[in-house]
């Protein structure tokens, strides 16, 4: 019964969102000019540029291929270097924020844990693009600033997820060790090692996300693939754009595949090929133990990549002197003070300034941002749900749930198609998708909604399919065997048991959608991002800070709400 209300509520919220965002269905049909532009633009996809489109620069400067390679390398480098820092933050934060190593609780430990979790959430509430804008404004352009802009929110996310994984991990081994006289932290090693496959899997997933973020940072000036896309767009070189987009997708897909393989290897382990008998010597047994060359190679290449990334940068800091940077920083701080306070010297003016801005633009922007994220998340969920009968491997075959039914060739083909679209959707950064879609739909909210929905439906489709595929329920098999069709089985036997988990995933993505919705406004259509962009362009850093804080508060609250809902659902 509750589920029906949930679904109805979702639909109502979606419609409300569309109304608030003034997204009319008639805007879905692009103008004739838009269609022309879209066909030009997407037509160019079939022939990505292999050399500069502007003939004049072909013989000058570096070859096009070098430019692409450089941008690609920088994208990967910033991602890897930022992740290495984030990993350190994540490990410290993850351990401090978990209670798996406590032998007994105390007020100090509990407050430490909550404090660390809140800090991690706060770090993550500020989007990496916004960190980048802040750092760039404060200390000027430097690779370190760009890297730190990603390391902070990613470190926060890692800390939060690591602490959750550690809390949920099996404590059996730790309990045995404590019972055997082991001290808290030594026993914790048992839990930590047990959770290691999950921790590493998540870290690799974050690395893949970092590559996307690294590319998107290009839109604010960091010299990664996103920057090249932006410049090529502004110059009207559509074929070049596609070259960069394809390269980005390839890199992201590579990291996704790598991470997937790592996960499988960690979870399954390697079975030794030779089964030695009892007579074997210790040395022989050690030789024959199951080892994974893949994992070793992975570790080696990651370490090398990180080392190379850190060491190959000739100027981590800016090219300015220390005094100059300090002067810039203090000037930046003073610019953060609200304008009326700077003029009058009276901090009491802050309230009036704050209320004025919120009333004029802030509250509306917050409201629209919330609805943009929510509507997009709901749409993504709906799309993923509808495609579930095809995206779930155990359903989209000729033998659904291992019951031989029919030919299923078309069905598995369609299933593969759905899965491939999902992979592509989630490999493309939302910001990039929005940027491209705005060209087709013009400055409407639909472009932003679809950008978020495409990316997130890819993710939700994958997560939902896993829930369905991992469902060991016999009820589904029985239904198919007694002649039920796949959709009915999905609705009747599989969805009900998996419902809670899917709602869990929806809330997790909802909160991310709000976060991205804040940023997407920077592309020009009204959410908080638009106000941030305006403030930045006019150098009103006080307003910039206000909008950033508002946006982060929204995400922070969304994060907490999502956590609470998930806690309740898990019970």
């Amino acid at each position: 019964m509750r589920r029906r209300w949930f679904l109805l509520g979702g639909i109502a919220l979606f419609v409300l969102g569309l109304w608030v965002l003034k997204a009319h269905p008639r805007e879905l049909v692009p103008s004739e000019g838009g269609r022309q532009l879209a066909s030009d633009f997407f037509g160019a996809a079939l022939r990505p540029a292999l050399d500069y489109e502007d003939r004049a620069i072909r013989s000058v400067g570096e070859p096009f291929a070098t430019k692409v390679a450089k941008a690609a390398w920088l994208t990967v480098k910033y991602a890897v270097v930022a992740m290495s820092l984030a990993l350190i933050l994540g490990i410290f934060g993850g351990v401090l924020g978990s209670r798996a190593w406590w032998t007994r609780g105390s007020l100090f430990l509990t407050s430490l844990r909550i404090g660390v979790r809140l800090l991690a959430t706060a770090l993550r509430s500020v989007h990496e693009l916004i960190w980048a804008i802040l750092f760039l404004a404060a200390v000027g352009s430097s690779p370190f600033a760009a890297m730190l802009a990603m390391a902070l929110p990613y470190g926060g996310t890692l800390a939060k997820v690591f602490s959750e994984l550690l809390d949920e991990a099996d404590q059996g081994a730790a309990q045995v060790m404590q019972a055997g006289g082991g001290r808290g932290f030594a026993a914790f090693l048992g839990t930590a090692v047990g959770a290691l496959p999950d921790l590493l899997t998540y870290a690799m997933y974050r690395l893949e996300c970092a590559v996307r973020s690294s590319a998107v940072l290009g839109f604010v000036g960091v010299p990664t693939l996103g920057y090249e896309i932006k410049v090529s767009f502004e110059d009207g070189h559509y074929h070049e754009i596609w070259t960069f987009v394809f390269v980005l997708l390839l890199i992201v897909l590579f990291f996704e595949g790598w991470g997937g393989r790592i996960r499988r290897m960690l979870v399954q382990g390697v079975v030794p090929k030779v089964n030695l008998g009892k007579k074997s010597t210790l040395a022989e047994l050690w030789q024959a133990r199951g080892k994974s060359w893949f994992l070793r190679l992975t570790l080696l290449s990651l370490v090398t990549l990180i080392a190379v990334g850190w060491l190959l940068e000739d100027s981590w800091g800016a090219t300015l002197s220390y005094e100059q940077r300090m002067a810039n920083l203090s000037r930046f701080w003073s610019e953060l003070v609200p304008y009326p306070v700077r003029e009058s010297g009276d901090w009491g003016d802050t309230w009036g300034w704050f209320m004025g801005l919120m009333r004029e633009e802030g509250l509306v922007a917050l409201w629209r941002t919330f609805h943009l994220g929510t509507a997009a998340a709901l749409l993504a969920g709906a799309v993923a749900l509808l495609g579930l009968v095809l995206s779930a491997r155990t359903l989209a075959t000729g033998s659904p749930r291992e019951v031989r039914v029919d030919g299923g060739r078309l069905r598995s083909l369609l299933g593969k198609g759905v899965r491939v679209s999902a992979v592509l959707g989630r490999s493309a950064p939302e910001y990039l998708l929005a940027f491209l879609l705005l060209q087709i739909f013009g400055p409407t909210m639909w472009a932003l909604i679809f950008a978020l929905a495409i990316h997130n439906s890819g993710i939700l489709s994958r997560l939902g399919s896993e829930v369905i595929d991992n469902n060991r329920s016999g009820a589904a098999t029985v239904m198919i065997a007694s002649g039920g069709n796949r959709s009915a089985t999905l609705l009747g036997a599989l969805l009900p048991t998996g419902f809670n988990r899917m709602v869990l995933f929806l809330f997790y993505r909802w909160e991310t959608c709000i976060r991205e919705a804040t940023i997407l406004g920077m592309l020009g259509v009204g959410s908080l991002g638009f106000l941030i962009s305006e403030a930045r362009v006019s150098f009103f850093y006080d307003e910039l800070l206000l909008w950033i804080i508002m946006g982060s508060l929204l995400v922070f609250i969304g994060d907490i709400v999502s956590d609470l809902v998930r806690l309740r659902l898990k019970k």
Binding site: Q175, G180, L189, P272
Partner: protein, 254 residues
């Protein structure tokens, strides 16, 4: 070794153990018998101080547990090995690493870390010998979750032995294993304990097994000791009568 005096254990409103008086001597092999919920696990929990008695005294090696400081309790626990029902193995670690966890008390955090990351050859040899005694030495470098249930049980036993304890507490170590294997495992554990002169307190719910391998059987029901003594025929009849269970065919029992 273990002495309980008028021990009562309450969880909220439920009474898990009620007025227990028990004395287990050093080197004794004792089996706790009883239906689910009788209090076997709770009793085992008291013996190494994992749970504190609500009232009464629990003494180990003459010392009242309640009077021990944290450090002293730790020292005491390092001499008692615990094998829980779900084994508490780290599935992604190899057998030798799991066994090494047995000496966590003397190794500490850094020692254990070192053993896990790069174990000395000498230690590997010691563990290999130990695994021979439980019969799975060829699995020494395999991942724990690649082993069968029975083999995993043996790993847990090996870990307990590696600790070189004065006492082993085993909580239903054979409940998830088929009867054939169960016999072998109980035999193994009680034999090893006898060899080492280690006190063994094991809880089972299969009376046949208990009779076969243990001289002393303690029957628990609803948190009380209803039987304590030799599990010979007379005793068995008493136990079954008290438990209200039907007595099996004598020929099978013998």
């Amino acid at each position: 070794m273990f002495t309980l005096q008028s021990v009562e254990l309450r969880y909220g409103g439920t009474v898990a153990l009620d007025g227990l008086d028990l004395d287990i001597k050093s080197g004794e092999q004792v089996c706790l018998i009883g239906p689910s919920g009788a209090g076997k696990s709770s009793l085992l929990g008291l013996l190494n101080g994992r749970t504190a008695a609500t009232s009464g005294h629990v003494s180990v090696e003459g010392t009242d547990l309640a009077k021990l400081s944290g450090k002293e309790l730790q020292k005491l626990r390092s001499r008692i090995a615990w094998v829980p029902q779900d084994l508490g193995l780290v599935s992604s670690l190899r057998v030798h690493q799991n066994v090494a966890c047995g000496r966590v008390a003397e190794k500490g955090f850094w020692g254990l870390l070192r053993s896990l990351l790069g174990m000395r050859a000498s230690e590997k040899a010691v563990i290999h010998e130990l695994l021979k005694r439980v019969g799975i030495e060829e699995k020494i470098f395999q991942r724990a979750d690649h082993l069968s249930g029975g083999q995993q049980q043996r790993v847990a036993i090996a870990r307990a032995l590696y600790q070189q304890p004065s006492a082993i507490l085993a909580d239903e170590p054979v409940s998830a294993v088929d009867p054939e294997r169960a016999r072998d495992l109980v035999a193994l554990l009680s034999t090893l304990a006898k060899e080492e002169g280690v006190t063994l307190v094991m809880s089972l719910h299969d009376l046949t097994l208990a009779r076969q391998f243990f001289d002393r059987v303690i029957g628990l029901r609803d948190g009380r000791v209803v039987f304590d003594g030799r599990a010979d025929d007379a005793g068995v009849r008493d136990l079954y009568r008290l438990g209200g269970e039907a007595m099996p065919d004598p020929s099978v029992v013998s």
